[in-house]
Amino acid sequence: MIKPTALALAVATAGVSLTASAQTEIEFWHAFTGRLGELVAAQVEDFNTKNPDYKVVATHKGNYSETLNAGIAAFRAGEQPDILMVFEVGTATMMAAKGAIKPVYEVMEESGVAFDPDSYIGSVKGYYTTTDGKMLSLPFNASTPVLWVNRDALSGAGIDPDTDLSTWQNVEVVLNQLKAAGHECPLVTAWQSWIHLENYSAYHDVPFATKDNGFAGVDTELAFNSEAQVAHIAKMGEWAQDGKFIYTGRRNEGGANFRAGSCALFTESSAGYAGISSEAKFDFDVRPLPYWDGVGNAPQNTIIGGASLWALAGQTDEEYKGVGEFLAYLSSTDVQAKWHQDTGYLPITAAAGDATRESGFYTEKPGTDVAVIQMTAKAPTANSKGLRLGSFDQIRGIIDEELEGVWAGDKSAQEALDSAVERGNQLLRRFEQANR
């Protein structure tokens, strides 16, 4: 039992510490743990030291889905944080919730901090910007898929590790050679829908969904069952049957296999850099994601995955001013360049990319600029700006299920993708109805 005097003292000191700090507290909920969590904590601490008027309090709320759900539940209870990290899949959900968010461009305008939307890299901010160019959320961690190569595995199979792997045609030759040499895991992937359908479509400049992949309206329909995608999935299915492509799961389970050296090629996010570089005990390479030569307009550009920061509605002007300051701090060149170099995530501003190049980072660690080049080499088209589809988390689940049917040999690529499109469209119609 607490003695009354002790209780009174506790209350009194709590009161004192509240009044003593005229700081505005900014709550920031994020989904990062481990090394990334430490880096975020360091950013926050640095900001707090430089801006004594504000105190950003960063809280880890679980994985991406859990963080979004925590934010939604808090909003319903009227206790939402100032800043919520939302993964790219949740973008359409947030955009549709007009009364729950405060668009970043408004926050920046009102807080009076310097903000130039043009300084952000087009293909990164495009995902989070309205069709008339207004930035709704601030891209925070953005990555894009690349090809990771275990050079030792290639040389072990008698293949030149510097062989050209820029097209799937070339990759197929290498997969055949690896298989012939008795390699047990020639190709493995993470995030199959993101890499082999979403990015595949953008990279070959074919639509993933109608209405500019959903950017032009919620009455969009899925379109990834066209010839280009079916051909790729059919090929992957064939490789799966022949033991040239090993399926390890819906998320990034394959990373463990690759880092342990048991797989030769690995399609995974550029942000896999931190893990691979620290764990791999073999010689590895980062290459651009392969494309099918002659299909669509490949290579166009790939799209991003990751998360952005949303300001939620219902806070005081003081807090929004602090949010603006914090977002401006995160976008500043030094902070961004450091973030990019530490994590393998893309720089969100062109200036941060330039600063990294000038510092000699790319020559020192070859391959770290592959993702940046792949994203920015060409101006994005309507098919390669990104995706804006409601219920997209569920749609990805459906795609995972259907693809598993192909890998197991139960379904043809055409059947599986047709079915995924049909089931996904029902969800899109429900989303349209919910947000009418």
Binding site: R76, N257, A260, Q394
Partner: protein, 293 residues
């Protein structure tokens, strides 16, 4: 002879059952009512607006052949979990009951798994059967069997059944063991004198005498398999490969708490409520007739 207590007036009996009524009201009737109410709408995740759709959510669900298929998956899963948790439990209880010395130690050891949370149990089993580093899958590989629950639906089902049943074996064991202790020795000894051997005594005397316990465990385990297993499924298979381990309650969980489709999720929980309600009524109506108290 039956003992009956009669109360004078209403106040005291009402007061006595009030705690139970209040708890049922707060933790069952209120949320269940909310679920029924919400199942008629398609709300947006933030609770800013909602569209009344009548029975639209139910129509949408029943027109989905994957949802209909998950009834079959659920039936199979529940049957397997119930069997896999009750049969070994009974077997172990019979063995422990025959022990003269040290049965306390066995009892304690057998109860331990019950203390492990379902999600943690899921991770443990997943680790053992992991296709790359799992101990069990490695031994199976040595025997020439290529274990791959990531793509093989039957293996995935087997794995989630084992992981779900494992902790329940302890729970069931406890009840069976207690019930066995209550079987009168005199009857068994009489049968033994008449020349009945162990298995004959077991099937004709012990098993019928255990029937109230067996019936209770049957109801409880079916309810467990229907409602409390999503943690295991979430950690091991996420409902895959394809939809081979997507049981009804897992879909309620993912649609509601991962995908924020609260309308569909509420409709599904209403359906689940009805299914389990019907199942329990059936059990009481038909199976209970064969129970001797």
């Amino acid at each position: 002879m039956e003992k009956r207590v009669t109360f004078k007036g209403w106040l005291l009996p009402l007061l006595l059952i009030a705690p139970q009524l209040i708890i049922s009201g707060i933790f069952f009737f209120y949320p269940a009512g909310q679920a029924v109410f919400q199942s008629l709408y398609i709300p947006d995740p933030f609770g800013l607006s909602k569209q009344f759709v009548g029975l639209g959510n139910f129509e949408y669900l029943f027109s989905d052949k994957y949802y209909r298929a998950s009834f079959v998956t659920t039936a199979l899963f529940s049957l397997l979990v119930t069997l896999a948790s009750m049969v070994p439990a009974l077997f172990l209880a019979v063995l422990a009951d025959r022990l003269i010395k040290g049965s306390g130690t066995y009892r304690t050891l057998l109860i331990w798994p019950y203390a492990v949370a379902p999600a943690v149990a899921g991770v443990l089993w997943l680790f053992m059967f992991n296709t790359r580093v799992g101990v069990v899958s490695w031994y199976l590989g040595q025997l020439g069997y290529d274990w791959n629950h990531v793509l093989n639906g039957d293996e995935a089902m087997g794995l989630v059944v084992i992981a779900s049943a494992w902790g329940r074996i302890s729970y069931n064991f406890l009840f069976f063991f207690a019930a066995l202790q209550a079987v009168p020795r005199s009857i068994i000894e009489a049968a033994a004198i008449d020349g009945a051997r162990f298995w004959r005594r077991f099937f004709t005397i012990v098993l019928p005498l255990l029937s109230p316990t067996t019936f209770f465990l049957l109801v409880v385990n079916v309810v467990y398999a229907f409602f409390e297993t999503f943690g295991v499924i979430h950690t091991i298979t996420s409902g895959g490969p394809q939809q081979s381990t997507t049981i009804l309650v897992y879909k309620v969980f993912t649609d509601g708490f991962v995908a924020q489709d609260l309308g569909s999720s509420s409709a599904q929980s209403v359906i689940l409520l009805i299914v389990v309600g019907l199942l329990t009524v059936l059990q009481f109506k038909y199976v209970e007739k064969r129970v001797h108290y």
